[in-house]
Symmetry: C2
């Protein structure tokens, strides 16, 4: 087997682990920067690697619209297309069909929708999504799911979860056997604990290389999200990675690690960077604020990244206010580096069985 | 003396030289990337250094509007403000007063104008411009000149050139004696050879550390520009650097080096990069063109830069078409690297007395 997951240590429910892929190892808990359109917005691959990121995420939905799968498949997949040697996880498109597309029509076979870019009619099914992900040649492949919007209507969520389960079965069948790639199942069930647990048990019966928790970060409160994780933590298998999709703030991550999560992805550090926001160990700051014109201190000297240590808030305020590209680059670079610094310190504190203290010391400051 | 210029070799009128500044040496002929607002748009300092650039240019006019001189002066100047250890040349603002500002009113003492950003009334004079450049702490300071628009009205150009000469005198007086910085005079006179030569002779009487040719790249043809350089080349002092301001295309540079020019600056490689254009040894290409969707070759494997060698035209076409920041970064990075590769090959060919052949081999291809 060229791929594996090893659970190295537990500290309460927090877990220290290592995912081995054909293209490199990923220390968990891990944060995956989002590279939607085959680029982590604003950063070169050299800068991404400089942040100690060990894996990135790309989006099947976006890439099948632009540039289209064939231009990526032709050169051997995403790694070659975007010149990135890091492992890549591709999502299946289910979440974006829900959040971005128009005129969505779900049938048993799959989902019809109109592209959010040009309105073009597209059809995705478990088989098509897995086939696309094979062509993208990602290292971690996600099953195609139906991701419902946040809802308190249990019947609706039940129906959707059942469909996702049948699609998970078909995704696994289409994926087949491949010792070089992971296939992750996605737990659905909204904010209903019984549906979540039931769904997870059925996914375990199918058997996947990892288990993602989907259908969160769709509008529920942090408390609801944490409750869902609490209900699942005793059912998630210890010997497989646990991935919370689309999350989150530094506070969300701390709370989720506390509840047994190993993997995260989120657009927050990149998107916030492009709007002048920086995550620091003293909390989130807005570089657009006029007070930073008089602040010659660097962004965060605790983070080991050129963008964090070499430029003053005075300078960054100037770049943000003049809409310079370098503002987006430096703040995105810093934010990803901060997230990776957070993950590194989380891993260290689990390794010395000090996660609870670390959590208590930082949760309030970082959960803003 | 901590600063100097050495003429190392001549090949026809082409010159190989070395400028020594307090912050580093500059091999000439040299190209200076433009960092208008204290950032070379789209690039980090690490990337600029990676292109082998040895000096950058910043704009007095823009910086005195945003962020204002005091925020830069407070930290010790531009190098510290923007975290750049390369030597910096600052222009004096004369050109931008002509090209950007509104309600310009020129009097003997200086020029009143409205900021192009917020309409604020500003006054610049030789004394104020030099004082600002001292506060910016640049390594090469330019005299404050009146830069007229392109005109065939000789009387008007004569009047303007005379004023610029009196301002050059006042600039020199304000600059005083400083063994750590260069002060360059600027030759004006439009497309009138006799005015140009007369102006240059009078500037030589004042005596500067270098001589720039201003008032070009304002709408005249390449032929007119070359004719102006032809008329000046025998009067420019051999032991001082010759700087052609605001120029130009690779073809312009080849033709100007042929006519004795040592230094160049231009926004073309940066600005073109942001619009999807790439300069290569096979000429200029537009990555937005649909044909590049099917072209998996790299941008220019002859240029020693990650942006030139590691990404396919297929990928760059995708980035340009999706307006990704990385498109601007990679194409700007490549274009500056290409310009520096051009300068490096120009210097090499002068050093082996082969510039004429090099010019003949490349001028037509690069002059597009």
């Amino acid at each position: 087997m060229s791929i594996s997951f090893h659970l190295m240590k537990e500290d309460g429910d927090a877990r220290l682990g290592k995912i081995k892929t054909k293209r490199g190892e990923i220390d968990t808990p891990a944060f995956m920067p989002v590279g939607t359109l085959a680029t982590v917005k604003g950063l070169t691959n050299e800068q991404i690697i400089n942040t100690s990121s060990q894996i990135i995420l790309c989006n099947t939905y976006h890439l099948c619209i632009r540039p289209g799968v064939e231009r990526i498949h032709r050169v051997g997949g995403l790694h070659k297309f975007m010149n990135c040697n890091l492992p890549i996880l591709t999502d299946s498109g289910g979440f974006q069909v829900m959040s971005l597309s128009k005129n969505t029509k779900i049938i048993e076979d799959g989902v019809y929708f109109n592209s959010h870019v040009d309105g073009k009619k597209i059809f995705l099914s478990p088989e098509i999504s897995i086939d696309i992900q094979k062509k993208l040649n990602s290292d971690i492949v996600m099953v195609f799911d139906e991701c419902p919007k946040y809802s308190k209507n249990k019947k609706l969520i039940q129906k959707s979860t059942d469909l996702s389960l049948r699609w998970a079965c078909r995704s696994k069948k289409e994926f087949g056997t491949n010792n070089d790639k992971f296939l992750f199942g996605i737990v659905q069930g909204g904010i209903f604990n019984d549906l979540r647990i039931d769904n997870l048990k059925k996914l375990l019966d199918i058997s996947f290389d990892g288990y993602a928790i989907g259908g969160l970060a769709v509008g529920e409160s942090q408390l609801e999200m944490f409750k869902t994780l609490d209900c699942l933590k005793n059912y998630l298998p210890k010997n497989k990675p646990h991935y919370l999709m689309g999350t989150g703030t530094p506070g969300d991550i701390l709370g989720a690690v506390m509840r047994g999560i190993d993997m995260f992805d989120c657009v927050l550090p990149t998107r916030s960077g492009r709007t002048g926001l920086a995550y620091t160990w003293n909390g989130k700051i807005n570089l657009r604020n006029a007070k930073y014109a008089n602040d010659d201190s660097v962004l965060d000297e605790n983070v080991n990244c050129p963008a964090s240590r070499n430029y003053s808030k005075n300078y960054l305020n100037h770049l943000v206010n003049t809409n310079e590209i370098l503002a987006s680059t430096l703040l995105t670079w810093h934010n990803i580096a901060f997230y990776q610094d957070l993950m590194s310190k989380i891993r260290y504190n689990i390794s010395i069985k000090n996660f609870d203290n670390f959590y208590k010391k930082n949760f309030k400051i970082l959960n803003n």
